[in-house]
């Protein structure tokens, strides 16, 4: 974990036990079909989470919540044999978005902006950040053992690519925040 300012630490501890950030809770919320509980939890945490762009943080968490609609796409949802999407895949993508966004906010006092979280092929899920100065695409395969891949580019011709590996990627956060 990166070092964080003391005034953020208190909220950081709260976040670590926040039900929203728990995969178990997210699954419970979905199975119970109590989406309003998930949304309420996210909104209630937002004002308590630091000062680095509350509006942005709310927009990010709202985007993550809306992306749960991907899970409604079951096998053959298009009538042409397309594969459906599962909670584990979505959770990995959601966790990554929240982790990197929080890291950018806490360590750089910057916002990564609101990513697009979208269904891709073979049951995989994409996360894409787009700004005027940088774009980054991360793909989370259905099989978690395969590992996520990423590719990014900027208008100057700079690129970044590879396997995601570790859950936290401060280098990718730096890539996105440096160029905004």
């Amino acid at each position: 974990m990166p070092s964080i300012a003391p005034d953020v630490l208190k909220n950081e501890e709260a976040i670590s036990v926040a039900p929203w950030h728990s995969p178990k809770y997210a699954i419970w919320g979905w199975e119970s079909n109590r989406r309003e509980d998930i949304q309420t939890t996210v909104v209630s945490w937002a004002p308590e989470i630091g000062n680095g762009g509350n509006g942005d943080w709310s927009a990010i968490t709202n985007a993550v919540e809306r992306s749960m609609a991907i899970l409604q796409l079951r096998d053959d949802w298009d009538g042409e044999g397309a594969q459906g999407y599962d909670r584990d895949t979505w959770q990995r993508a959601a966790d990554f978005v929240l982790e990197q966004s929080r890291y950018a906010r806490d360590c750089f006092r910057r916002s990564l902006g609101v990513p697009r979280i979208s269904p891709a092929d073979d049951g995989s899920i994409d996360v894409m950040w787009i700004s005027d100065s940088a774009k980054l695409l991360v793909n989370f395969p259905r099989n978690s053992k395969e590992g996520a891949t990423f590719y990014g580019a900027n208008p100057e011709g700079g690129t970044v690519s590879g396997m995601l590996g570790e859950k936290n990627r401060p280098d990718l956060v730096l890539w996105l925040t440096q160029l905004k």
Binding site: D78, P119, S124, V138, N139, Y151
Partner: protein, 139 residues
């Protein structure tokens, strides 16, 4: 007299670089109504498209099972070919002379191939990210 059930076999042709290719996108792929790299989705080992020489955008849409939920994204053959080593090949089928495929997105073997695929989808989206024919039904 020709047999009414005789299947027409079209000859494959070379698709020129300036040619337009029509790709169908189902609105089910668009949870928030916006195009994204995931719409470049293969069926088997190729990305299915229709060649403009033998199809209009509307005709391409009507070939889908749910035409009311289909939008069309127009790709340019030469631009596609310039991405890594993708191939654009005309492969007519009896019911669709325009049928063609973009091949080479997925290749076997290892992490490098997976990273390459993500790069390809990134670039396809960078070049082609708007509907040339919007879905008739609101997302």
């Amino acid at each position: 007299m020709a047999d009414a059930a005789e299947v027409v076999k079209w000859e494959s042709e070379q698709i020129p670089d300036p040619a337009e290719l029509y790709m169908r996108v189902h609105t089910g792929q668009l949870p928030d109504g916006v195009l994204h790299p995931g719409v470049f989705k293969e069926q088997g080992d190729y990305l299915s498209v229709d060649w403009e020489k033998y199809s209009t955008k509307e005709e391409s849409r009507r070939r889908a099972k749910e035409p009311g939920k289909i939008g069309i994204v127009t790709l340019i053959a030469g631009t596609v070919r310039a991405i890594e080593d993708l191939r654009v090949e005309h492969e007519p089928i009896p019911l669709n002379r325009a049928h063609s495929g973009i091949k080479g997105i997925t290749i076997p073997d290892g992490n490098a191939a997976k990273i390459r695929k993500t790069k390809i989808r990134f670039k396809l989206f960078e070049y082609f990210h708007t509907f040339s024919l919007a879905p008739p039904e609101a997302v």
